[in-house]
Every structure is written in C-alpha cells, then in structure tokens.
Symmetry: C2
Subunit: 316 residues, 2 copies
C-alpha cells in the first residue's frame, strides 16, 4: 500500500496525517502554528511534523510514502508553492513556503505540493468522500468566508493565475450586501457566517417575530431556533439556500460539473434547513441539462483538510 502525508496549515494549528491510497487516515498530529513567529519558523515546524509522521509510519511498517501535500487558505501559486496572500497570515505576501519547507526538510527525497485548502478539499472528497465516482466537481466551504474549488478530470483547475474556483465571489445580488472583497452581492456576503448573523440581526431590527436575541447570535443558534420552528430563523436558512442555488446556477451553466460538494461549519445546518432549499431553487433555475448536477454535503468533515492535502500528491 502507498501512503502520502497531508498537512492542513491553519492560522491556529498545523494538522497533519498519513493517508493510505485507499483513503484510510492514520498518524494524526496537531501542533500550534504560532503565526507570530513568522514563515521561516512555521516552515521549521512543518518539517518537524513531517519527520515525526515519517517516524511513526516506519514504526507501523507503513514505509512506502510517495509524497507530501500541504493545503492553506488564500491565493496559493501552486506551480511554485508560493503563498501570494492568505487570510490566516495577514502580513504574508508572496512567501515561498514550498522553498522554505524544502530547505528545512534537508535532503528528504519526497515531492512536496502546496495548494489552496478548498482545492485540496474538493480533490479529497472526489477521491475518498462525497464525490467518489465523479471526474468534474466543484466544492464550497461555508465558514467565516465562502471558499471554493474546481476539479476537472480529477485534477484541480487553477485557471490562468491560480484564482479559478473563487466560487464565494460569484455574484448573487449585483446591488446587494458589501463583501469583504470589496464587491457587492457576492455569495460570501450572504452565506458567510458573519453575514448570516448580520442578515438575521437586520430582520430582528425590522421587528420580525423571533425567539432569537440579536446581541449574542451564532449560526448554530440560528439553526437551533429554526429546528425549533422559529419562522425568522427558518426563513434565514431558506434564503441562504436560495442564494447558494443562484451561485450554483451560474456555476453549472459556466462549468457544467457533475457534482457540487458543500462543506464547512455552515453546511452543518443540514438537509432540512439548507440543502433542500438549495436543490429546490437550483432545479427551478437551471436549464434542463442532460445529466444534471448533484448537490451534496461534504463527507470528510474535520479530516477534509488532511485528506485533501494528502491527495495533492496524486494530482500532480
């Protein structure tokens, strides 16, 4: 059996794991990122983590490691392994992380690949999660922001300048809410966590009846209220689903993927609150395409980061 090492480089933790070619994950490790120590120190910690995993793998007789993949949020230049910018590392600009880590690894003879974390997630879902059996997929991660990734013929599609798959910035309401990117009406400005909370607060301020308290809101509370039958909360999720469907309609007509895989904390709202509204509105809006497009929740959950990153080894 072949193995690859997957590393999920977050702003708080570096999570790593060893993935067998059949998708089984072992040797999980978590270390603190310590962002303030800078890119060089982080590269050192990543290299140490890699060596620890290799050591653990050898003890377990999992010796045939074929490569290492690392996923990080932001605009990653996959060809060169440069982090152009990342929301998790505010000061970073064109940091050659692949070079730094390679230097720290010394003469370790394993290929290292770096890519955007959502690109990696879609790849992971396609190989070992919700997208098994498909070749062309898009993925959304609904969290603080709305990330996106595109896989064509089982390979990450990067576009001309590594910015393809910014699906959270599909326009769903041209004169709508202001997005963090500067544009108005991006999907993220409706389906990002902060924006879901703000939309809810706005409707409370408009005097709509609800059991929710405007001051201390989280998406989880809005989901709980909706499950308990709160009309305002139910409507917020239905609206969120419809905006996601508007974006997926554009994406389907532009890219014609076989499947859209939706993960991230917000997707935990689940079938009744969210997914049924996405599918209903999508079906209403799209042309009658032979083959259609499946819309499903991600399956890999908290492991998506490592698994996707580990699959980058097979993408190249």
């Amino acid at each position: 059996m072949k193995y690859s090492i997957g590393i999920d480089l977050g702003g708080t933790y570096i999570k790593a794991g060893l993935l067998a070619a059949d998708g089984k994950l072992s040797c999980r490790m978590v270390v603190s990122t310590c962002v303030d120590e800078g890119a060089r120190a982080i590269a050192t910690r990543i290299a140490q983590t890699i060596y620890q995993i290799i050591e653990l793998a050898e003890k377990e007789d999992k010796k045939e490691i074929v490569g290492i993949g690392l996923g990080a949020a932001g605009l990653i230049i996959a060809d060169s392994g440069v982090i152009h910018f990342s929301p998790n590392f505010p000061g970073w600009s064109d940091v050659p992380l692949l070079n730094y880590v390679t230097e720290e690894l010394g003469g370790l003879d394993l290929p290292l690949y770096i890519d955007n974390d959502v690109n990696a997630m879609v790849l992971g879902e396609l190989h070992h999660g919700a997208g098994v059996g498909y070749e062309n997929a898009v993925g959304l991660t609904l969290g603080t922001g709305v990330g996106g990734g595109v896989v064509i013929n089982r390979k990450v599609y990067h576009g001309s300048w590594n910015t393809a798959g910014e699906l959270g910035h599909t326009v769903v309401q041209p004169d709508g809410r202001k997005c963090g990117c500067g544009n108005h009406g991006c999907l993220e400005a409706y389906a990002g966590a902060r924006h879901i909370v703000e939309r809810t607060q706005q409707q409370i301020a408009e005097g709509k009846k609800t059991c929710l308290d405007s001051g201390v809101l989280t998406p989880k509370q809005i989901a709980e209220a909706a499950t308990a039958g709160d009309e305002l909360a139910l409507n917020i999720w239905a609206e969120t689903g419809r905006y996601i469907a508007v974006a997926l309609t554009s994406i389907a007509h532009i890219l014609n993927p076989q499947i859209a895989i939706i993960g991230g904390g917000i997707a935990a709202a689940g079938e009744n609150l969210l997914f049924q509204h996405i599918r209903e509105e999508f079906t209403k809006r799209t042309m009658d395409i032979p083959g259609g497009m499946e819309i499903v929740p991600a399956k890999l959950g908290n492991d998506a980061g490592f698994v996707g990153a580990a699959m980058l080894v097979y993408n190249n």
Copy 2:
C-alpha cells in the same frame, strides 16, 4: 501549407470556407439551408458544399486539406456529433448530424468535427482573431440570444454533458427579467437584442425623455440615438455594459481566464457605448487578480463562423 474546411450551419444559410493554417480564408460559399427539408436533406447539401470546396481548392492548388469542422447553434454533443437541440432547427432532437454528413460524403477520407458555434468562435478568435497569444479564453456572442464558449489550454471546454460555456445564463439579477430558458435574471434577459429593446420600451413607457419611438425599435436605432446624445439610450447601453460586467465578474472568479472576447451584432455598439462600461464595472467588482482579465471585442466579424468551425480540426 495545410488547410481545413469550416462550415457555419445557420437556420437560413450554410456558409463555408477554406482556411489556411495561417488564418487566411478563401473559397467562400453560401447556400440556403432550407430547414423545412429536414436533417437528411441538409446533410446532403453540406456534403455537396464540402465537395465543391475541395474541387475549388484543388483548382487553386491548395491540396493539403486536413479536416472539416462544422459549427451550429444549440446544445451539440461534440463527442458524437449529435445535435441535442438547436434554436435554428426547432423540430430536431438528438439528430446524429455527423453520421448523416459522413454517410453523404461517401468514402471521403477527412475527419469531420461538429461543435457549438460559439465554442468554435472562441477557438477561431484565439487562433486568428482577438485572442492571439492566449490559452484560456471565454467568449460571448451578443445577438438575439447571448451565446457563450470556454476555451482552456487552447481547447474547447465542454464540461460533463457538453453544456459548459452557457455564459448567457449566468445569473446577473436573481429576481430580474424572465429569460427564454425559464430562469429569471440571466445575462441574456438583459443583453439579448429583444431584451435590450424591451428594457428601452419599458423606460419610454415610464415617461423618460428620449427621441426614440417605442413602436419600431431596434438595437441599432438605440445605438444611433445614444451616439446622438439621447440620455435614455446612453443609459440603456451603460446598464447593458454593467450587466455584462456582473456576469464577467462571476466568470472571472470561477474560471480565471486571461481574456473575454465579445462579439455578435449587439457588440457593434462599440467602445464608447458598451465596452468602456463593461471594463469600468468589471474593474470595480473583481478582486485584484494577478494578471487580470482582458475584455476585448471580437475581430473576425462575419467570418467568425467559418474560421472557428475550421479551427475545430485543430482542437481535436
């Protein structure tokens, strides 16, 4: 020099030409389509046209013909050369045009490729028109409808079910004008010829001052009025440009192409009335992408149909 034959199969005319590998077009021919006679008769006429072009080419000593490409509007299954449906051939459903034409050609030993006409147009512009030097392009044709095409790595991108590149059905206003496809707020419902006229008529009906007469409007008249300084007409074009920019913003964030090439009769409104508004709004709306995306008018004009179709030979 190598040559290929390009055929532009329209609802009224079959236009054909011989294209040299350097982009020079010769031996133009136009015959009536005679839609009412049915697919078999049209296949016969296409085959006759091909033989006539081969004969003309031989007389001119242009002997090395390497293949034939045919473009038609609608959903074309490029792999099999089947016309799933076409707005130009209302009764047709899954017509195996490639097989019909191949049968009519007898034993002619030249490969024949069939694809959507806008896909072919983008390919043609990339090889011999506005997109020379680029690998990743999208194209829009603004006519009665709004067609689209996507080329990745100098090859037409078909998606999973041959419906990629339906860029006219990118959503630009989710609760907006009804589109012919059934959805609301597609780009086509704002930038298609009929819709530009209807939007103008609507603003006239709202009592806005204009020199235009609501009864007999064409996009050309609206462009002439705008050029003469008519405010309502100027505003219609500025709005049209902004809607195109909203669609291109989504397209850029999803696909990250290097260039968007815009052709078709409506694009003749030109730089001042249309393109400057597209670019201005696009720049405002898109993230600061390294490399950006050029937005340019198509160059091949009336020849785009043949030239693009002829380039299908090199796409395969």
